[in-house]
Symmetry: C2
């Protein structure tokens, strides 16, 4: 038994899956729950997974962060990044001097407000490449993939990053580290920035439908170019070849409904700001013209507002 | 009684309304019908109108153009402009040497294929500013406006244009003529190109909702700028002030659902090509960059394809 204390904030699909994996690795994993609180407190979390099903009974199940009995070594934040969720305020009572804040979330510049609120804490930024969804109360379905990339924000690889990696690897999660994690974040944005919004705005279309339409494919490529330009002008290093690679990889995937589309279809709020808004803001600061990103951003704001 | 023979092709809301008005003015107005054929043949068309209700019994009601007993002075085409509708082929049997082809339709470059098919016929291009819809079989509801602008394509004002205007004026339609009708078409596009697509793509939003969102309003303005640029580089003359005027006029209108949105909500095909596709093509020929129009075009293609 490992004594590492992990507190999961956001016990949805991602939090349940990776929390469960850390539990398998022997860490003391507790969960802050909302809607699933009663169910998980009583029955834990069942994970149906392509890697093998497992059951996860958190060490402590709480619905108010103040109820957590100690100060965690890691706070693993796996909520969506939405204007209505003030994650800094939520975690504040349990962020100790030595607590590393791990953000496994989508989008760009998601670490900034956390860095500002906790200037002296270690921040670990993480990217999950996974198909996983919550099927019912306390039930998670892990359909495909599962890779994780983690690294310190804004850069570097601390012992805590490496230790967290070792826990994930112990439970067979393909976890790699990156000492320039923001670069990886931009890399992921090359896919997310076009496909997530277009799948929603285009009327609920999967990746194949998008790429089969030559005009829509051009739009995808134009958005990718803009993301690449912002990243490279921000000092990161994304080769132009990534665009072709992302297109080809997507064509080789099974037709895929993006997570943003699933959110939209379930009338859940969309991560408009961190997928598009922040990128548009950075472009403006860099004096870059990104008309395609801006158009998608405007349209997605309209759709999102009408959908909740 | 006037002996002018008018054949309406496309007896939907627009065709029924303006056809009815020409009938009121004393012309011999016949209609080519599809779904409403039996009903109209028996009962004619009832128009509920802010200008005063009226009933219109066409001179001949036909469902195959070959059945029309003569050659008309005017063929009034009021169908949507869609890839599936080969209007040249439809009207061909009844286009005589002296038949003027009147196109009261939306979009840009709609006259080109007609000009190519009938190089020696007079073409009258028309723009309708009207809120009118078909409420049931043979029933039309004219809610607001009604202004018409007509002129020869590509330019000029023939006696036939002026005579048609006189008929409309006789029945109290506010009909003006324009010897540079394509310029007016571009002017109308300044409004149509942003509002029609964005109302659909933005998730079924009215004009007020669009303009209340500052990002969406910016998108509207950016699209308007692109339309203005294409028109002016094509040799037309649209002052920059038209943009502000269109925004202000729209803010002063009641919240308005565009006709494209109504089509979308009723799973009817959208005029994607003539509202956006043709403008994008002209921009390409002129070597103009129109990223916003292109983005809307791509997204609307996806939506339209999924909707029919």
């Amino acid at each position: 038994m490992d004594n590492t204390k992990v507190l999961i904030v956001g016990t949805g699909a991602i939090g349940s899956f990776y929390g469960g994996k850390l539990d398998c690795a022997g860490a003391q994993v507790s969960t802050l729950c909302r809607s699933d609180y009663n169910h998980i407190k009583k029955s834990g979390i069942s994970v149906k997974s392509v890697m093998g099903d497992f059951h996860f009974m958190p060490y402590e199940v709480i619905n108010k962060i103040e109820d957590y009995s100690s100060i965690p070594d890691y706070i693993l934040v796996t909520t969506k990044v939405l204007p209505g969720i003030d994650i800094q305020k939520i975690i504040e009572p349990k962020v100790g001097k030595n607590t590393a804040i791990v953000l496994i979330q989508n989008g760009i510049d998601i670490e900034k407000p956390v860095r500002e609120a906790f200037p002296n804490n270690e921040i670990i930024s993480g990217l999950a490449f996974i198909c996983v969804s919550r099927t019912s109360l306390g039930e998670i379905y892990h359909q495909d993939y599962g890779r994780l990339i983690i690294g310190n924000y804004p850069n570097g690889l601390s012992p805590k990053v490496k230790y967290l990696q070792s826990l994930f690897i112990k439970s067979e999660v393909d976890c790699t580290v990156d000492d320039n994690i923001v670069n990886s974040r931009w890399k992921k944005m090359i896919w997310n920035a076009p496909f997530n919004p277009i799948s929603v705005i285009g009327g609920g279309v999967d990746t194949k439908t998008i790429l089969e339409n030559s005009e829509a494919k051009n739009l995808v490529i134009n958005v990718m170019k803009e993301v690449l330009e912002i990243a490279n002008k921000s000092g990161y290093n994304l080769p132009e070849t990534l665009i072709q690679k992302n297109i080809e990889d997507t064509l080789n995937m099974k037709p895929y409904k993006t997570s943003m589309l699933l959110d939209y279809e379930n009338n859940r709020p969309l991560e408009v700001e961190v997928i598009l808004g922040n990128a548009v803001k950075i472009a403006r600061d860099l004096d870059l013209s990104v008309p395609n990103l801006k158009a998608l951003y405007s349209l997605l704001l309209l759709l999102d507002k009408n959908n909740i």
